[in-house]
């Protein structure tokens, strides 16, 4: 890089130091842990890796199924957009086949005509629907013991309410544990509860920010019942050496399985990974619609001339 503009550098420095300040203002790890425990926000507990015996006991009750979805939209000006969606429920067993649901959407085919933001919402809702659908089918087909869903369970309740209710009742009837694995925690349960005790700068700090480096490997913070969304229990866990925790959601009715789930998730997560159970990563890799796939589909079915029409100018930058 050549000489950086002096002003630009100055401004960057300012912002960066503010960012650092925010983290420095966080109370000490010990103080935070004590406060969280004292104020009854949750309980710190350790998790154990399951041994072969325990795992075989799990398998006896049924398979473990991972559910994930993928969305990929062609780049182009609204409404010249095609969105491909795919959801997969993959049982953890030698039979490589899973259950897939796919859909293709475009603002041009939606009735009545909608705006860009609405379309984005629609896409989100549609993917949630697909994911719940494959989960439902997986219950029928595989009789699983546990379903790992990629993302918060609350999300399904909001984005696909009807299907979600169906899934929930099926799960409860069949004693199938539903588990939402949240990679990017966006809640701020802790800071809300501790408003008076936290420095001003981190009043609204997200839970991941508070918990960063706070947990030992394998340790979890079980959020007290009633603090999280109604009908759910949640806990945060450092499932690998990565200091940023992940979030796990359960149905309130199934909270008795909380430590079983925690141990299982901990067992299935590679120690030096980012903290997501390997099985979900494998499902993610299997379901992912890559840009390359998108491109080849576009040129095959839309034709190169139309691809040219919708390709944004910015993609043609040469520098």
């Amino acid at each position: 890089m050549l000489e950086l503009d002096l002003n630009l550098r100055q401004k960057f420095e300012d912002v960066a130091s503010k960012m650092r300040l925010r983290l420095q203002q966080r109370p000490s790890i010990k103080a935070l842990r004590d406060t969280i425990a004292d104020r009854g926000i949750g309980t710190f507990r350790g998790s154990q890796k399951l041994d072969t015996q325990n795992l075989l006991q799990v398998v006896e009750k049924g398979k473990i199924v991972g559910v994930d979805g993928s969305t990929n939209s062609s780049k182009g000006p609204f409404p010249y957009i095609i969105t491909l969606q795919q959801a997969l429920a993959k049982p953890c067993c030698s039979d490589p086949k899973g259950i897939t649901e796919t859909d293709a959407l475009s603002p041009l085919t939606v009735e009545p005509v909608i705006g860009e933001d609405e379309y984005r919402e629609l896409v989100k809702r549609n993917l949630a629907c697909l994911e719940v659908k494959v989960a439902l089918k997986a219950i029928e087909e595989f009789w699983p013991r546990l379903i790992l869903l990629d993302g918060s369970l609350v999300r399904y309740k909001i984005e696909a309410p009807q299907l979600w209710e169906k899934l929930k009742s099926r799960a409860l009837d069949g004693d199938i544990i539903l588990v939402g694995v949240v990679e990017g925690i966006s809640t701020n349960l802790i800071s809300q509860c501790l408003k008076d005790e936290l420095p001003e700068v981190i009043y609204y700090a997200s839970d991941w920010e508070i918990l960063f480096g706070l947990l030992d490997v394998g340790e979890r913070l079980e959020i007290a019942q009633g603090l999280f969304k109604e009908g759910f229990r949640t806990f945060f866990m450092r499932s690998s050496t990565d200091p940023k925790p992940i979030g796990i959601d359960l149905l309130e009715e199934q909270q008795i399985y909380l430590s079983e789930v925690a141990n299982l998730v901990y067992t299935l997560t590679p120690r030096d990974s980012r903290g997501i159970p390997l099985w979900l990563d494998i499902v993610d890799k299997s379901v992912r619609i890559t840009d390359k796939m998108m491109e080849s589909l576009l040129s095959a079915y839309l034709g190169d001339d139309y691809v040219e029409l919708i390709r944004p100018k910015r993609e043609k930058r040469e520098l």
Binding site: K49, L50, T52, L55, L56, V58, V59, K63, I64, P91, C92, C93, S94, P96, S240, T267, L268, T269, P270, R271, D272, S273, R274, L278, W279, D281, I282, K285
Partner: protein, 612 residues
């Protein structure tokens, strides 16, 4: 199996979900436009999209993968196998991507795997990774030899590898390259066994004293007996050089092989060696001349004037004669020639001739010539020149229409450590004759089998004439470079050379037009000294202990009071020289071995027979 990715007219990638590709196996590519094409796997990879190559990805946590296995999922099932396949003959245009690939039947690839008639072939072993194809082979080609691999001996399940003896006329000479422990000696043994099977006359120079074919392998079901098909000769013991028949050139070569000759010495030999000389006459002349030169002319003349006995006088006059005749030859040269000659004589070289070798070869046998390497070099120069001359004279006579010359059959010359016989960049006595045979031997039906661990050190003219090359594991980079240069071995195969298991080899031959990967068969016979030195020591030690125990046994029990007596008795009975102290040590050693037991008593230790 399916062709994937970018293709070219001579190379494609083939992918398979459930079949691993094996290097060097042949595949049929079913191109819809060009028909079936035969290709050979040159690289084999397996890939798992869930286990990325990057180190830091964390997915390598073995515990998690193991846990998933217990839950019923094995990550290895998501593996994809990819093979790089080179077409044996180039296609006209690139292969269609996506076309299917299958394993060939034997008849489809017969011409690539088998050359010539089976009866004319040297059965060297099996062609690697042809098991599935071999299953469709004619019954009489199946299970022809036994293979030893990973501690097990079994009948081959692959296609047999034959080296066509008949093709030698077109593509003569074999080179066998490989480092120590690569299986090269085994390979050479197998080649010689096969040559004996065909009763093709052969001569083997054996500096290691290991080419013995009378001991059969005992773990083999059908080990063939070769004890009547070869004859072993030791230089100086059974065979040697007839001094009378030596030409000046032969003699010079012989002397110089002991130690190089100076210019003065060479010209001295030229002068001193006379037609019709025997060893005795020649060596006497040398001795007398030495003495004369030491004495000096004046002293000899003075002596002649004295009154001496006739014998002495006669000697002095002969000395004078020699001095006058060879006045230009300096004393050190004569001395130098004399000690070289003595060394040759002491080796027994001049006490025998090469007739036994000729006879063995005439009978279609393998003649194994053994000797220390320096002597072997000397002798083989003489031997090879003679045999080659015999064959050449006969053949030339035949060509000129002068039939009726003495018949001498075509033959094969084999040797290990060939770089000693035809070294690059320096002279050796044998180099001339070997180069000559390498260059024009095929005209006369004389072929070479040269084995060496250092192909780089072998004379280039000779290397270039070795049409068939059998290459075992080679580690040295310079040797690999030489091999790459001298053969049609592919870059992928050259990279594998340092890792070849013992007994595996690549055969590069113009007859096949490509490199064939083989595993050499298990030989029927074994080398006489395969006993490990460590075993030898152990066996020796045990038998010594047994002997001691047997000699002690009658005198048991031994205790303090009768110890001195026991020492005397044992020494008397065995002729050993034990003292109290040394016998005690020996007894302690036997206690440790469990042959004796020791009991403590108020009178001291008592040694008893352990079985007592």
């Amino acid at each position: 199996m399916q062709v994937v990715g970018l293709t070219t007219p001579h190379e494609v990638y083939v992918a398979s979900k459930d079949r691993k590709f094996r290097i060097n196996e042949l595949l049929v590519i079913q191109d819809p436009y060009q028909g079936d094409l035969i290709g050979e796997v040159v690289e084999s990879n397996s890939y798992n999209r869930f286990i990325p190559l990057s180190i830091g990805s964390g997915i390598h946590d073995g515990d998690v993968i193991e846990s998933l296995k217990h839950l019923g999922y094995s990550i290895s099932e998501d593996e994809i196998n990819i093979g790089k396949v080179k077409l044996l003959t180039e296609a006209n245009f690139p292969i269609v991507t996506g076309c299917s690939v299958r394993l060939p039947t034997f008849d489809e690839v017969r011409s690539y795997l088998l050359k010539g008639r089976r009866e004319d072939g040297l059965l060297l072993g099996e062609i690697k990774n042809t098991e599935e194809t071999a299953a469709t082979m004619d019954h009489e080609l199946k299970g022809l030899c036994e293979i030893y691999s990973r501690g097990q001996l079994y009948k081959t399940r692959n296609v047999p590898f034959f080296l066509d003896l008949r093709s030698f006329q077109q593509y003569p000479h074999i080179g066998v390259f490989g480092g120590s422990g690569s299986g090269k000696s085994f390979g050479l043994r197998v080649i010689m066994e096969e040559i004996m099977k065909h009763r093709f006359p052969a001569l083997m120079l054996d500096p290691h004293y290991e080419m013995e074919f009378s001991e059969r392998q005992d773990d083999m079901t059908e080990a063939r007996d070769f004890s009547q098909d070869f004859k072993k000769f030791q230089i100086g013991e059974h065979i040697g050089v007839e001094f009378l028949n030596l030409s000046k050139r032969d003699l010079l070569a012989l002397l110089s092989s002991v130690s190089p000759l100076t210019e003065a010495m060479s010209s001295a030999v030229e002068e001193l060696h006379l037609r019709g000389d025997t060893y005795l006459s020649f060596s006497n002349r040398l001795e007398l001349l030495t003495e004369a030169l030491e004495k000096g002319r004046a002293k000899i003349e003075q002596g002649l004037k004295q009154d001496l006995d006739p014998m002495e006088k006669d000697k002095l006059s002969k000395m004078k004669e020699l001095l006058e005749k060879y006045q230009n030859i300096p004393l050190p040269s004569v001395q130098g020639i004399a000690w070289r000659l003595r060394r040759l004589y002491n080796s027994g070289l001049f006490s025998h001739d090469i007739k036994p070798v000729k006879e063995a070869m005439m009978q279609g046998k393998l003649a194994v010539v053994q000797g220390p390497i320096w002597l072997l070099q000397v002798f083989s120069t003489y031997l090879l020149s003679n045999l080659y001359r015999l064959r050449r004279d006969y053949k030339d006579g035949e060509l000129k229409g002068e039939a009726g010359g003495e018949y001498f059959p075509p033959f094969i010359i084999a040797t290990d450590e060939a770089h000693n016989f035809a070294p690059k960049g320096r002279d050796a006595a044998t180099k001339g004759i070997i180069t000559e045979i390498a260059q024009e031997g095929r005209k006369y039906g004389v072929f070479l089998v040269l084995a060496t661990q250092r192909p780089t050190l072998l004379d280039e003219t000779v290397t270039a004439q070795l049409n068939t090359k059998i290459i075992f594991r080679t580690v040295r980079a310079s040797d690999i470079a030489t091999i790459t240069e001298e053969t049609d071995i592919k870059a992928e195969e050259a990279r594998r050379l340092p890792y070849l298991p013992s007994g595996d080899a690549f055969v590069s031959s113009p007859l096949f037009g490509r490199t064939v990967a083989i595993r050499v068969r298990y030989p029927h016979t074994r080398s006489p000294h395969t006993q490990n030195p460590l075993d030898e020591i152990q066996v020796q030690r045990e038998s010594a202990e047994d002997k001691l125990f047997e000699s002690i046994k009658p005198h048991l029990p031994i205790y303090a009071a009768n110890f001195a007596r026991a020492v005397e008795d044992i020494n008397g009975a065995t002729g050993q020289h034990y003292e109290v102290r040394t016998l005690k040590e020996a007894l302690e050693a036997l206690v440790e071995k469990g042959k004796l037991k020791k009991q403590s008593s108020p009178l001291g230790d008592i040694y008893l027979d352990a079985d007592f």
